[in-house]
């Protein structure tokens, strides 16, 4: 568990470097990625299927990024992108590809569908949090 904690932090921060995020926000990038990955790992381990876990993790990443974005007055994309990266189903996509090449199409299609579902759930998680954010911002204005 400690390994996951440390590696997800470093990996997300390193992705901040690759995307050339501002130097000041690298630590926050790492933190967002770490929280997202820990939520995902714990949920997948104990409670839910990978699709649901990705959804919840992506949602929490987006919420956290929004808070950081508001606080540091930067575009939200900086935090959300490096946070999302660990959730991307690279491993599944890879397995799918490998099975395609080995002519095992049934397994390959199954894995590809799963990878597709997971990326879809990540996207939905992001969008839901954005919509909620807009709702929250708009409701007080109408009083």
């Amino acid at each position: 568990m400690l390994t996951h904690l440390v590696t997800s932090f470093i990996a997300s921060a390193a992705f901040g470097i690759l995307f050339n995020a501002p130097k000041k926000s690298l630590l926050q990038c790492g933190f967002v990625g770490m929280v997202g990955w820990m939520i995902y790992i714990i949920l997948v381990d104990r409670y839910f299927d990978a699709v649901v876990s990705s959804l919840i993790a992506a949602f929490s990443i987006a919420v956290l990024s929004q808070m950081f974005a508001r606080y540091y007055r930067t575009p939200i994309i900086i935090f959300s992108v490096s946070g999302i990266i660990p959730l991307v189903p690279g491993g599944l996509a890879y397995d799918a590809m490998r099975n395609f090449v080995e002519n095992d199409y049934n397994t390959a299609i199954q894995l590809a569908a799963k990878a597709f579902m997971i990326s879809g759930s990540i996207a939905v998680g992001l969008v839901v949090s954005e919509v909620l954010n807009q709702l929250i911002r708009k409701i007080p204005l109408k009083r």
Partner: protein, 252 residues
């Protein structure tokens, strides 16, 4: 301070410059449009229309001024510049910057190079590969091979992209090289799990930003940009997959 409104042509120039920088650096389409119309409104043009796609921007204001078009041919990811342009637009909106100053500042941002030195990027990619390998439940003994494969892969991607200029091809070759390197590690006995090493090393090439942006653009109603970014992401994923697949086709 006396607020003198600049001519509309100047405003159009400022907006297009800001939009161009943001789009080239990987901002979402709706953010680009939003920033451009905000800057225009700040400098006295409340009604502006912009049409932004990943490959070009059309911007026009009401009245007799002609619409202007900017072509975007090269897109990278540089979130720092996005932040800076965002800052300029905020400052302009609060009246801290005049139109002249904003334009000069944007020119500076456009020409400057804020990216981390290449060796730092390579080190970051290499370490990220190693960490991803561990996150996907690999063994510690595979850490060094994954780091090296990831480093080699990212380095070859950067240099190949300078030579070939076609993104698809450089990604394909880079993942091919990653596959080869990982395979050599397994054959020579340094690595244990081929799958984990390859998955970890390929992660720096994965189009995570594109996928996220594509979906957000689609949901925000920018159908054209969303679909074309999705296509770009799919092409990248396909290139990586093909590169790895070639290795398996020959050796499994």
């Amino acid at each position: 301070m006396e607020h003198k409104f600049p001519t509309s042509l100047e405003v159009i120039d400022i907006c297009l410059l800001a939009g161009k920088i943001m789009l080239q650096c990987g901002a979402e389409t709706y953010r680009v449009e939003d920033t451009m119309s905000r800057i225009a409104a700040t400098f006295g043009i409340p009604d502006s229309h912009s049409y932004v796609t990943p490959t070009g921007i059309i911007f026009s204001v009401d009245g007799t001024e002609p619409a202007k078009l900017i072509r975007i041919s090269e897109r990278t990811t540089d979130l720092y510049k996005v932040t800076l342009v965002n800052g300029v637009s905020r400052k302009a909106a609060s009246g801290e910057l005049t139109s002249k100053q904003a334009y000069i500042r944007l020119k500076e941002i456009e020409e400057a190079d804020f990216t981390f030195p290449i060796y730092q990027q390579i080190v970051a990619a290499a370490i990220a590969s190693g960490c991803f390998m561990l996150m996907f439940l690999g063994q510690w003994s595979d850490f060094i091979p994954a780091v090296i494969c990831g480093g080699i892969g990212f380095t070859s991607f950067i240099y190949l992209h300078r030579v070939v200029q076609i993104k698809f091809f450089s990604e394909f070759l880079a993942s091919l090289i990653i596959g080869l390197a990982a395979f050599l590690f397994i054959k020579s006995g340094f690595g244990a799990q081929l799958d984990k090493i390859i998955i970890g090393s390929v992660m720096p090439l994965v189009p995570g930003l594109l996928i996220t942006n594509a979906v957000r653009d689609l949901m925000a109603g920018h159908l054209v940009s969303g679909l074309s970014k999705g296509a770009e992401a799919f092409l990248t994923a396909f290139a990586i997959g093909t590169g790895i697949a070639v290795i398996f086709a020959f050796y499994s």
